[in-house]
């Protein structure tokens, strides 16, 4: 029942979002090419904007994947934390300490700066 509610809410919101766009646009002519040109304050691009985009923070994304992988273990851990007491503290403390080393190392090497 809960999933059904979620599904209905999701579909209604999605449908409303698409519907508003579609209703208003179904009887609209295609804008002219000059209108469709990218806005650059009167200037023009030479090429399409899609390109091999040079992401400047790529080491950060990789660091995140490694870290996030580990964070997923923390959710079940949180549930049994109070029940297990000190054992849980020790285990997770150790685990986080190990991973913090990774973050500190990354920071020292300037990973969070634009490459």
């Amino acid at each position: 029942m809960e999933l059904l509610t979620l599904l209905i809410v999701l579909l209604v919101a999605l449908g409303a979002g698409l519907g508003v766009q579609w209703l208003a646009m179904c009887h609209q002519t295609m804008p002219t090419y000059p209108q469709r040109a990218p806005f650059l304050g009167g200037g023009l691009p030479e090429t399409h904007a899609w390109n091999r985009y040079h992401v400047r923070y790529y080491p950060m994304t990789l660091l995140l994947i490694a870290f996030e992988m580990e964070m997923m273990f923390m959710y079940p851990w949180a549930v049994v934390y109070v029940e297990q007491g000190m054992k849980a503290v020790m285990e997770m403390g150790m685990f986080l300490a190990i991973l913090s080393v990774g973050i500190v190392y990354g920071w020292r090497e300037g990973v969070f700066k634009w490459q």
């Binding site: 304050g41 030479e46 040079h54 400047r56």
Partner: protein, 434 residues
């Protein structure tokens, strides 16, 4: 029925105006920013009215046509102290700043109620390159990267990267002259890799700025120092307001604008300075980038030079200023951060000088040269220095590049003084609207 109800509601919306600035058009924006019911938007797609403010030089007409065609229908164009393009000769032209807000609102209402048709498209409906039915699949493309898919070539790897050596594609675009985040009139050919500026070639120098008449008079005869200093503070406050708006501090930008409009010798900027410090403007937004070398700083002159530690100020040569105990303020660093600290310090300094000069009724004594807010004006007027951007910007991220440009006053000084707006006080303006 439903539609008319909708358009009646739409007619009551704040009028979204996209300003395309011509010569000396920026003064009216300071006024419009404080006018209720008008919203200055950043993109022509978000506007229902294109406001062309100030004369647009003929060589920019092509760019203006392109911009005009980028507004989605229904839209209208309003020409403020500017001659309409020949195709749009029938458009509304307003020269009176008092009448402008009402004209904008009326235009918007007429558009929404259908009493006025949307402005016609000026350029032919043709793709940048013909593509339909061409190429391997009839969409203009050839092979993996070739051809002109949907009318444009694909971005290709042209430049080696300047930071980490990964050579990916670079994008080359011409920006401006109507990009609202650049100084009016500035146009450039920019190559970007990712969000990093790889190269910047200034193609169109920004329009010369018009200074208040008092600076022109100071070269002819002694003028009251209080007036000179207030005009200087006004100029800097307006620049500050532009930069604050750019960094998302709309309310402080309005504070700065209001201050500049009602500026007198009693005004102080201490509170504005404190707010800026507290909200983290200096640390989060204007963080030290765009550092000028001594040579560049000298070329730009004025605030930029003094922010870079050069103690150059023509005012210290003036005997009247010396009597006021004037010594130039300087900062070290010469970066964005130092420039804004310098600007705020100089506004404050100007106001104090003005206050004392008024008490003693002092007049400037040196008439062969004057320190304008833009820099020293001795034998020559301060000239356009926008080509230093070519050395300054490469290697900066887009946001850093724009904050750097905003912190620099690069345009040359126009030979004509600023035409004074008929100054009804701001209070009246706002009260009348409310």
């Amino acid at each position: 029925m439903a539609v008319s109800w909708l358009s009646r509601l739409a007619a009551r919306a704040r009028v979204p105006v996209f300003p395309a600035l011509g010569m000396h058009g920026d003064t009216i924006l300071h006024r419009l920013a404080l006018t209720p019911g008008i919203e200055l938007v950043d993109s022509p797609r978000h506007a229902s009215i294109l406001l062309v403010a100030g004369g647009v030089p003929p060589d920019l007409h092509e760019a203006l046509r392109r911009l005009h065609d980028q507004l989605p229908a229904p839209f209208a164009t309003l020409w403020y102290r500017s001659a309409p393009l020949s195709e749009l000769a029938g458009d509304l032209r307003v020269d009176d700043p008092e009448a402008l807000p009402e004209a904008l609102k009326r235009l918007h209402r007429e558009l929404m109620s259908g009493r006025r048709d949307s402005s016609p498209r000026l350029l032919p409906d043709e793709p940048p390159n013909p593509w339909e039915g061409l190429g391997d699949d009839g969409h203009g493309g050839e092979g993996m990267m070739g051809g002109v898919p949907y009318g444009r070539p694909m971005a290709m790897n042209m430049h080696d990267d300047i930071r980490d050596g990964l050579t990916l594609d670079s994008l080359t675009v011409t920006l401006g002259p109507f990009l609202p985040v650049l100084p009016p009139g500035l146009g450039a050919k920019v190559t970007l890799q990712g969000d990093l500026v790889q190269s910047w070639v200034t193609q169109l120098a920004p329009y010369p700025i018009a200074l208040e008449n008092v600076f022109h008079e100071a070269l002819q005869r002694p003028v009251p120092i209080a007036e000179l200093e207030l005009a200087r503070a006004r100029h800097h406050l307006q620049r500050l307001a532009f930069s604050l708006r750019l960094s998302g501090l709309e309310h402080l930008a309005l504070v700065a604008l209001r201050l500049s409009r009602g500026l007198n010798v009693e005004s102080r900027v201490g509170r504005l300075h404190r707010w800026l410090t507290r909200c983290g403007f200096f640390r989060l937004t204007a963080a030290g980038r765009g550092r000028l070398e001594a040579g560049q700083a000298r070329r730009v002159g004025g605030i930029a030079a003094r922010a870079a530690g050069l103690e150059e100020d023509l005012r210290s040569r003036d005997a009247a200023y010396r009597r006021l105990g004037f010594t130039p303020i300087v900062q070290r660093g010469g970066d964005t951060n130092a420039r804004w600290r310098q600007t705020l310090a100089e506004i404050d300094h100007s106001l104090q000088l003005a206050c004392r000069a008024e008490q003693e009724d002092l007049y400037s004594e040196m008439t062969e040269a004057v320190e304008t807010p833009r820099g020293p004006w001795d034998d020559y007027r301060p000239e356009d220095a926008s080509d230093i951007l070519e050395d300054l910007l490469p290697g900066l991220e887009w946001d850093e590049a724009l904050t750097t440009i905003a912190s620099l006053d690069l345009a040359g000084v126009s030979e004509w003084p600023l035409e004074p707006l008929s100054e009804t006080s701001l209070k009246d303006d706002e009260e009348r609207q409310a």
